[in-house]
Amino acid sequence: MTPDEIDQTFRDAGLSVPAEERATMADGVAILLKFIARLDDAPIAAAPGKDDAS
């Protein structure tokens, strides 16, 4: 996520984040996105009935 995308996310959420906090926030976002990427690969349960031909 680019710095501009991070700023836009904050604006969309209605959060005012001062300039001096943005670099540290960007570090936090980068860590969080690594966790979220793991969710894409996580072994999760299939939706009930989704593959049930009956």
Partner: protein
């Protein structure tokens, strides 16, 4: 006050109170005096309630003298993390946003201790909203670790850990969403139980993450945690997560020992550089202690700590952001540095990510339950290591280096943290025991067996 009184266990004090050889009034006055003498340097209490305590102690003494002894908490001085509502007593959750908040009712957990006869000494420092810290710009400065004032006392139930380690209370209540009972217990060298999800009511406790928050007892011994849990456990319709269960005497099996217990080693939680070398050494030594006690001990196959952390971090951020969104939009600058930085990650998580995190949690619970078919309890390190320097704890430290404590919150299982060693620098090291959900009595039994044969829980910090 005489120091032997300061470090009496609840069980010891209760025995003396019941026998009439210890006065609840004298005990309470001694605790108040000790706090006045040493807590200025520690900062564990943010709102002492001396007159409330004196009145309750006097009532307890009168009742006991009249033959109306209520049980082992009658006349016992305790304190509460400042996340617990107390009628008429300021409760800020460590935040400038709630600077003047005075609840009208008691949290259920405190009401149950109060009804059991406990004496309220006061409210204890918490990191802001149970998620910040250690931040010097929060409403109350972080409590100082009595083993080394430069070190973090753990969070978020910091004041509870510090007060118990320093002999300023005999028991306390904390909350735990990712380790907030067990980390202060580990860093301060005391004992803390995160009970099974649903066992202890959270009504009247400021929430962070409704599906991961737990309320639990903190004390200096496993036995004292069991005594507190006996009063705390029970269904409460005011908490949507509360589960009706048959009553259990959590002290009943404390003397049953560890012989024959099947102890699983959670190597997966200790890996990934999540725990220091001395923390690992203490964990391995604890495993040997259980072997010596007659338990069978072997490694079990658990999911990775990173999987647990993924679920814990995403779920906590979403549920926490839902609580704080409006205040973050309106007055973000009034939050302390660490909590506003962490909570501001909320908007970066999509609904689909939250749903997947919940599904991942279901999978982790299923995998854990399968592994538990082989064992009774699981032994794991209790913290990443000894207490780190407070100044070095960054805003996203426990994101970049997930906490070994997070797994139990995701699973909703009991987790008992207790001292199990000492670092070269003289700081406590800890382990934790987990089990199946609602097998709280089993982790207490195993923990009591450990403390019956070791002295780590008797180590005291250098406070006068």
């Amino acid at each position: 006050m005489s120091d032997p009184l300061a470090y009496l266990s609840i069980a010891e004090a209760a025995s003396q109170i019941k026998a009439g050889t210890l006065s609840p009034v004298d005990l309470t006055e001694a605790m108040i005096a000790r706090r006045g003498a040493i807590d200025g340097a520690l900062g564990s209490f943010v709102t002492p309630t001396d007159e409330v305590a004196r009145a309750a102690a006097k009532t307890a003494e009168t009742e006991i003298a009249a033959g109306q002894y209520r049980g082992p908490l009658h006349g016992i001085p305790v304190a509460l993390k400042e996340a617990f509502d107390t009628a008429g007593i300021r409760t800020t959750v460590g935040s400038k946003l709630l600077r003047d908040r005075v609840p009208e009712t008691d949290a259920t957990a405190w009401a149950r201790l109060r009804d059991a006869g406990a004496v309220l000494l006061g409210k204890l420092e918490t990191t802001e909203f149970c998620y910040g810290g250690p931040s010097d710009d929060s409403l109350s400065p972080p409590a100082r670790n009595p083993w080394n004032a430069e070190c973090y006392a753990g969070g978020s139930s910091s004041g509870a850990g510090v007060s118990l380690a320093s002999g300023l209370a005999m028991g306390a209540l904390g909350t735990d969403t990712g380790g907030s009972i067990r980390l202060p217990a580990a860093y301060c060298g005391i004992t803390g139980l995160m009970p099974s999800y649903g066992l202890v009511s959270r009504a009247g406790v400021f929430p962070l993450s409704s599906t991961l928050d737990h309320v639990g007892p903190m004390a200096r011994t496993v036995e004292d945690c069991a005594i507190l849990l006996n009063a705390l456990a029970g269904h409460d319709a005011a908490d949507p997560g509360s589960i009706a269960r048959p009553a259990v005497d959590y002290t009943a099996d404390l003397g049953a020992g560890a012989k024959g217990l099947r102890v699983g080693l959670a190597g997966a939680l200790a890996g990934e550089d999540a725990v220091s070398a001395d923390g690992i050494a203490a964990y391995r030594a604890a495993a040997e202690t259980f072997r010596d006690l007659g338990a069978t001990v072997h490694e079990i196959d658990l999911p990775s700590l990173t999987d647990f952390a993924t679920a814990q971090i995403v779920i906590t951020l979403v549920e926490g952001y839902a609580i704080h969104e409006k205040d973050l939009q309106a007055r973000r600058a009034d939050y302390s540095y660490h909590s506003r930085m962490r909570l501001s990650l909320g908007p970066f998580i999509r609904a689909v990510d939250y749903a997947r995190a919940l599904q991942l949690r279901d999978k982790l619970i299923a995998d854990y339950n399968a592994a538990m078919a082989e064992v009774d309890v699981v032994l794991a390190p209790g913290a990443p290591g000894p207490a780190p320097k407070a100044a070095g704890v960054g805003a996203f430290q426990f994101f970049s280096k997930p906490l070994v404590t997070m797994a139990a919150n995701v699973l909703g299982v009991p987790a008992l943290g207790f001292p199990a060693g000492m670092s070269e620098d003289g700081l406590p090291l800890a382990v934790q025991l987990m089990s199946k959900r609602f097998d709280d009595a089993l982790v207490l039994r195993a923990g009591a067996a450990f403390q019956a044969t070791t002295d780590w829980h008797k180590a005291r910090p250098p406070v006068s």
